[in-house]
Amino acid sequence: MRLGVRLWGRLGGAALSLVMVAVLGFFLFRVVPGDPVVSMTRGRPTTAAMQAELRTQFGLDRPLHEQFWNYLTSLLRGDLGTSFTFRRPVSEVILERLGPTLLLVGTSTVIAVGLGLWLGVRAAWRRDSAFDRAATGVSLTLWAVPTFWLGMLLMMATGDLFPSRGMRDTDTAPDFVSQALDVGHHLVLPSLTLVAVVCAEYMLVMRSSLLEEMHAPYLTTARAKGLRDDLVRRRHAVPNAVLPAITLVFLRFGLVVAGAITTETVFSWPGLGLLFYDALTGPDYFLLQGLLVVTAGAVVVMNLLAELLYGVLDPRVKVV
């Protein structure tokens, strides 16, 4: 009974956050001066009537409160308005770019999680060893590296080895294998960039999380039972220490999508991050607003998932 209440509380909190995101998204981009229609039509033979027509098409001629109401009601239908730049529903544009971002972020996350957690466990288990010092030092340095700069450096350093932009070549054979290989080839540098930065964070988190557990009495119990060192680590220390790290991974996944903005920009990877950057020139307010709502919404949902997952993984926490 109480547990159910708690679950509803979490869901309610998430829902409230989503509403706040939506409201923030609207007002953040509506309080600014400037007429997007003028920007759109600049440099073309345009009459005042044509501008008015565009304004009507985008619903910009209504009073603010009416726009807000329309925005909310259409949001409920999954309609995020129409992009100035693409002349298409924002939701459609975003959906189209979701795939590449998920591919990039997904690949990077999988690699970064695997590598980061493994490095973190090793470093913490042999605290202050040469390995620990090296791994921690490198991670701290990578953590300090601006993502975009790393991308630019990689691009300059690898020269002609990898394509400089995009997700695929236009002249690749249409069969699945060639296409997949082509995408993979394009994926190397951007995912490497993301992995380097994200992995460093996971490593540091896993390390400190395991260090917290290092002196836990139950590890002494396990040793006293006669368990081998690596079994003590694998069966006892890591399952406890990995919980906060896993939660972080979930939380970060949402944030990594946001963090992909610079990576995608540097490598022209056609995902949400690049879309975000494109929306900045203009700026395309409806698109920005849609992206803000979608990314923040995704993070809220991921957050909720992380909490629920934590409840499943950690028997001490009961959420469901």
């Binding site: 007429d35 693409f86 203009g282």
Partner: protein, 584 residues
């Protein structure tokens, strides 16, 4: 251990995917970098320059501009005749031109397109300005189009409206919601749109039915780039074949690249510095908060005189520009105007100082006269750099500048509601100068509510307006050229804006893959962003020898790294296994 294996596996997969994709003897493809987004493939809605350019490849206009000298030439119509009162124009669409799906192009297609725009407000979104003066359009037979205008219109041969096939578009229920993405898209131009992935690429195939004959290669791909920097890099790597809109430094960097040929062309663009002349609405109400001193033409002239245009060309554009003068760039030779000896304002800070003193703005104790705001676009290299020079040059005559670099929207907002003293602006001009001249008439100023204006510089001058009206109905081209030049002279004299430079269009292409491109005009012309499709249509591929694939070494290195990683991993694992029992 398991975790490590997983990690290794992931790396292996990533590297494994980095194998070359086989493109042995495929079609010949011209790959072009585009930097601007495509807003729509629907020619009635598309307003971005990039979209317009691609629409131009898909659909012919009624008339076209010749590649060599930009004179009006055959489009879908090959003959045209105005009535003596210049109110009725008769165009003839010759027999034998086909749509890409094999259907014949008739006068009915033309009439359908124009009537659609006359009847449907949405259809006028992109090109409505061309038909505002139309009274009616009719096609009495398959070959003849008759357009009646409300008033004589001199630009009837410059109707930049893509003509769409009636048999496709009459089935379209709502223009507004039609994305025009039913591939392949039926058109009459030299290329047919076959694929479009937003933000990634656009693919077109040569139209075998094109009435001038198909292009000399098979496919034309536009590849989307984040910025010209990435595009230039891709060009040097051979990933793409053609790039334009390069920054001067990028252009220079390609100077010694083998297999790359550069094209420094006269551009259609000019950049200008707006000087707020005391902005007013259409009804004469003051609007905005421009500095009062600028209402005085003597002050504006003094400012213009204090700007060293040569320095801007040399230092900001690195020489890839021509010094600014009139509103029409020199690429449109006959319309272009250069000030004569006594009209010319030479760079002369001393004279500017004197003029300002005379105009009643003496220097104050701190050496300044009055401060001005300069608004520019953040992220546009020209604005960022030129503002530094302007700051110094105007500072020298006692006018400190407060430079504000803002977003596109904010810049437009500032210029639209006239909350600027000085601002950067710039336009791309068309073959017919009507549009760029029309920007400066009194009627373009906003209405009483501050909306609906399309004025560029808030210029309002009776002399200029009279000249504008005269050139609009002057059908003798020689006389019209004269009037247009007078207008530019008037504009230059009144200085609501200083044309700073005509920037060169900087382009480069892979000459190892494409031997020749058709430029417009023939001498010093551009390949991309033409008033036509010649650049793409006329490209001639070089011998079929494909450049060596750059992926071989990548594969080898990737493989080696992978192998090394696996070996190290296995060795470490072995050693750890062996000693696992003896550690705690």
């Amino acid at each position: 251990m398991r975790v490590k294996l997983c990690a290794l596996l992931a790396i292996a997969m990533t590297l494994g995917m980095a194998t070359p994709s086989a493109t042995a003897q495929g079609p010949v493809i011209l790959k072009v970098a585009i930097v601007q987004q495509i807003d729509s493939m629907n020619p009635f809605l598309a307003v971005f320059q990039s979209s317009t350019e691609i629409n131009r490849l898909m659909y012919d206009y009624l008339t076209a501009y010749a590649a060599d000298d930009q004179r009006v030439t055959e489009g879908l119509a090959n003959r045209w005749e105005p009535s003596p009162d210049k109110l009725t124009w008769t165009f003839t669409v010759p027999e034998g031109k086909k749509w890409s799906d094999g259907q014949l192009v008739t006068a009915h297609d033309v009439a359908f397109t124009y009537n659609l725009m006359l009847n449907d407000e949405v259809a006028r979104t992109a090109n409505g300005s061309f038909v505002t003066n139309f009274a009616s359009v009719a096609a009495p037979d398959d070959r003849t189009v008759v357009i009646r205008t409300k008033a004589p219109q001199v630009t009837m041969l410059a109707l930049d409206i893509p003509i769409v096939p009636r048999h496709v578009w009459e089935k379209v229920p709502s223009i507004k919601d039609y994305a025009n993405d039913r591939m392949p898209v039926v058109g009459s131009g030299p290329f047919v749109l076959t694929d479009h992935v937003a933000g990634q690429f656009i693919k077109l195939k040569a139209n075998k039915n094109y009435w001038r004959g198909p292009a000399k290669y098979d496919e034309l791909h536009f590849v989307y780039f984040q910025n010209s920097d990435a595009a230039v890099q891709a060009l040097t790597k051979g990933e793409i074949d053609l790039v334009n809109r390069m920054a001067p430094a990028q252009f220079d960097s390609l100077g010694d690249k083998p297999g790359v040929t550069r094209n420094k062309a006269q551009g259609r663009r000019f950049v200008e510095l707006l000087i707020n002349p005391g902005a007013q609405t259409r009804t004469g109400e003051p609007i905005g908060d421009g500095h009062a001193a600028l209402k005085d033409v003597r002050v504006r002239r003094a400012l213009a005189q204090a700007i060293d245009l040569d320095a801007l060309v040399q230092r900001v554009s690195l020489g890839y520009a021509e010094k600014g003068a009139g509103l029409v760039p020199p690429v449109f030779g006959k319309w272009h105007w250069q000030p004569g000896e006594q009209e010319l304002r030479k760079f002369d800070p001393a004279a500017a100082n004197a003029a300002l003193d005379a105009a009643g703005h003496p220097r104050k104790a701190d050496g300044t006269r009055f401060g001005l705001r300069l608004v520019g676009r953040a992220g546009r290299a020209y604005d960022e750099q030129a503002s530094e020079y302007l700051k110094r040059q105007l500072g020298d005559i006692g006018i400190p500048l407060d430079v504000r670099l803002v977003s596109d929207n904010q810049l437009n907002e500032a210029t639209t509601v006239a909350t600027y003293d000085l601002a950067f602006s710039g336009w791309a001009t068309n073959v017919d100068p009507d549009f760029v001249l029309g920007l400066h008439t009194c009627a373009q100023r906003p209405g009483a509510d501050g909306k609906g204006g399309t004025s560029d510089a808030y210029f309002c001058d009776a002399t200029y307006d009279q000249l504008y009206a005269r050139q609009l109905s002057e059908f003798d081209e020689g006389k019209r050229v004269e009037i247009v030049k007078q207008m530019q002279a008037r504009f230059y004299d009144q200085v609501p804006a200083v044309v700073l430079a005509y920037e060169n269009a900087l382009e480069a292409y892979r000459s190892d893959r494409f031997a020749r491109f058709t430029t417009q005009p023939a001498q010093g012309g551009v390949i991309m962003a033409q008033n036509g499709m010649w650049g793409y249509y006329g490209a001639e591929p070089a011998g079929r020898a494909a450049p060596p694939s750059s992926r071989g070494p990548a594969l080898a290195i990737g493989g080696l790294v992978l192998l090394a990683l696996v070996v190290v991993g296995v060795v470490v694992a072995r050693r750890r296994k062996a000693t696992a029992g003896e550690r705690e």
